[in-house]
Symmetry: C2
Subunit: 413 residues, 2 copies
């Protein structure tokens, strides 16, 4: 049965940011058949099940390319105001946050993801605790099995652990669930592990995600093997002060030939930005997380100048107050106060739709024939008279009204 | 009957930002009797009606020193992205926004004010449309009757209109409702009107509020009598191009000897900041409004350096998405990303409590013996183990749990 979903405004989220007034999407099964005016689609598909929302604003389902679901139990436990104190507090409280109550917290967090109009997430899985919840959720999930480990004496164990998680996640592979590989960061993964993990990534196909240049402490460590991370690793490595495993550029070179999504990049310098651009990497920015941990936001103009597509994501509840992309969009709108308001609003919309889809290699993120029928319909009073649709949607959207993933209506709490 | 309201954390909101653990406020009638540990207050007042909130965080009721309630019907009508286009859209849509539906919109907006834990507002009234709603609300209200008018031929009429509104508002004067005077701005009020209005302000006592240096267009006009405002006034003055009535400094000089709260000040230069400091003026900042209209935020460090106390306010729904101070605080926390996180959070809390009370000349804004029993109690899971109370409260507070104004419990929707 063909469905037609019509709305007062339809945001195609193509590169020209075209809009339709009284537009609609026709879809069959998991795919979009056509995007046109509601009237024309009704004529073309007279048998279709059609609905029209006169206060509606229809977008492709939003894509939250980077989050950590496993830490959803954090609310006021972790310390903010410095990457060093934050990471130390994560180590201290990790077991409690991932213990009793973690699953319930993850379920609540996913409800929030859906109600913000998100249809796809990129979830970094550190321990596999989130595997079954995500595999059984109605979301489209890119499940990034994260490899971590810099201490040579622990590498074999950590590799086996990673491989076990990866294999287990592969059992759940489906049209909506894609197992992938994430590399934790340049400071925490041995090049030996990185190379082996990249072979697994090649076997799987698809994008690799990695945190990169999130904090000043990271640069200090990678370039000079000193500072916070020196003491941090010494504690874990039994008093022996190790050295950094690679410079930022050497790390990027390891990723050559691989589709990569870098995460954060707040501290990237121009050389690193140029290198990332030459790799064809995308960059996911999480402004709320960056502000809470490091006290600095990504310099968007530098990233744009380097020609790197940036996308917006929430990060996990370990460093944010919600997994709602709507809230992240609002913060980004106001926090980047010097960006021209309307064009910035449009860029932000693209950063959670088309550009996020590009970064993750998805057949969605746009309303276009042949793409997945992942659709998010919101209601906004007065949208019919509005000429600043992207802006007003970011300002006012609180909860999605109707959500489709692969052409199936999803219940939103 | 004495009441004791106890909570896991009590934020006194004094200049040292002291906190009590398992603290409480005892109050009788409209006044705070004592602030101490819950246990001690129970012993001191054994007959009191006492309640304790183990997840509670208790603050003085919040103070939203600057808003325009009359424009509450705006949601997506007005144009953002430039002061010029915004002001033009206000003129075009003013009658509709203030027409049918305005009162219902104002009531809804006040519900939101209360549910954000606000006990006092400074409301700029342009037409008196909000008078009865505010006079009958449970909020503490500073009702700023606004004088406007720069065209000499209309001055008499506008003065009579202002005086009529002022007198009418004086009929509602009470312990919670204070009629005051606001001067619209340096560009829109003739010095002749300003002087007369200031005499009324002297008669009433209390603070005068005025928009000041909100936009680049304002400076261009005041200093060079050209730009957007040149055309704008020419339209209203029948084709004759008028000249600016005073420079920014001359305007400030008119306010000499008067307790003043300036609003916005985004474009103030150092000379003007120094002059404002010498007047003992406070400065109310509305970051969301500033970003939407002018695309720039107030440079807080300059304001602090000049020694001017700043406070945070929402402005009206004509230039904001909500009248919730909680949302404004969150935006300010993230938008001023370079301010040190924890101390900035504490400053922000003071900017809607103690400092706002100072700016408006209120006997509230702090939890201290003898002040008004205006109290806002929130619940925050894990507050007992939390060491970053101000920060976590700003991050997570969505809705007040219990609100007292002048010692009376107020229903919150």
């Amino acid at each position: 049965m063909i469905h037609i979903l019509g709305a007062e405004r339809v945001l195609l989220c193509d590169e020209e940011f075209r809009l339709l007034s009284k537009g609609a999407v026709a879809f069959l099964g998991d795919k979009i058949l056509a995007v046109d005016s509601y009237e024309k689609l009704q004529k073309r598909y007279p048998e279709a099940l059609a609905e029209y929302h006169p206060q509606g604003i229809l977008l492709p389902g939003l894509i939250n390319a980077h989050l950590h679901l496993e830490f959803s139990a954090n609310q006021t436990t972790l310390l903010y105001g410095g990457f060093d104190r934050w990471l130390s507090s994560v180590i201290t409280h990790r077991d409690v946050l991932m213990g009793e109550g973690a699953k319930e917290a993850m379920r609540r967090a996913l409800d929030e993801v859906l109600s913000s109009g998100t249809t796809t997430i990129g979830a970094i899985s550190s321990a596999g605790l989130d595997l079954e919840i995500l595999a059984h959720s109605s979301l489209r999930v890119l499940f990034f099995n994260e490899v971590i480990g810099s201490n040579p004496s622990a590498i074999d164990f950590l590799w086996e652990d990673f491989l076990g998680r990866l294999k287990r996640s592969e059992e759940f592979k489906s049209s909506r669930f894609t197992p992938l590989v994430a590399i934790h960061s340049p400071y925490s993964v041995h090049p030996f592990l990185i190379k082996r993990a990249l072979l697994e990534a090649k076997r799987l196909g698809g994008v690799v995600s990695t945190h990169f240049m999130e904090s000043k402490e990271e640069r200090e460590w990678l370039e000079e093997s000193r500072g916070f991370f020196g003491d941090f690793f010494a504690r874990f490595f039994g008093g022996v002060k190790p050295k950094a495993l690679s410079t930022p550029l050497e790390f990027l070179e390891l990723l050559e030939g691989q589709r990569v999504m870098l995460v954060h990049g707040v501290q990237m310098n121009e050389e690193e930005l140029a290198k990332a651009a030459s790799l064809g990497a995308s960059l996911a920015s999480c402004p709320r997380s960056n502000r809470l941990l490091g006290g600095e936001l990504l310099d968007i103009s530098k990233v744009k100048k380097a020609g790197i597509p940036f996308l917006l994501a929430t990060d996990g509840l370990s460093s944010n107050t919600s997994l709602s992309l709507l809230e992240e969009l609002r913060i980004a709108l106001f926090a980047y106060a010097k960006e021209p308001l309307e064009s910035w609003a449009r860029e932000l919309v693209l950063s959670v739709t088309k550009r996020a889809a590009y970064a993750l290699g998805l057949e969605s993120g746009e309303l276009r024939e042949g793409l997945k029928a992942d659709l998010a319909l919101f209601e906004l009073e007065g949208i019919g008279e509005c000429t600043q649709e992207a802006l007003q949607w970011i300002l006012h959207a609180k909860k999605v009204k109707t959500l489709y993933i692969e052409g199936k209506k999803v219940e939103v709490k």
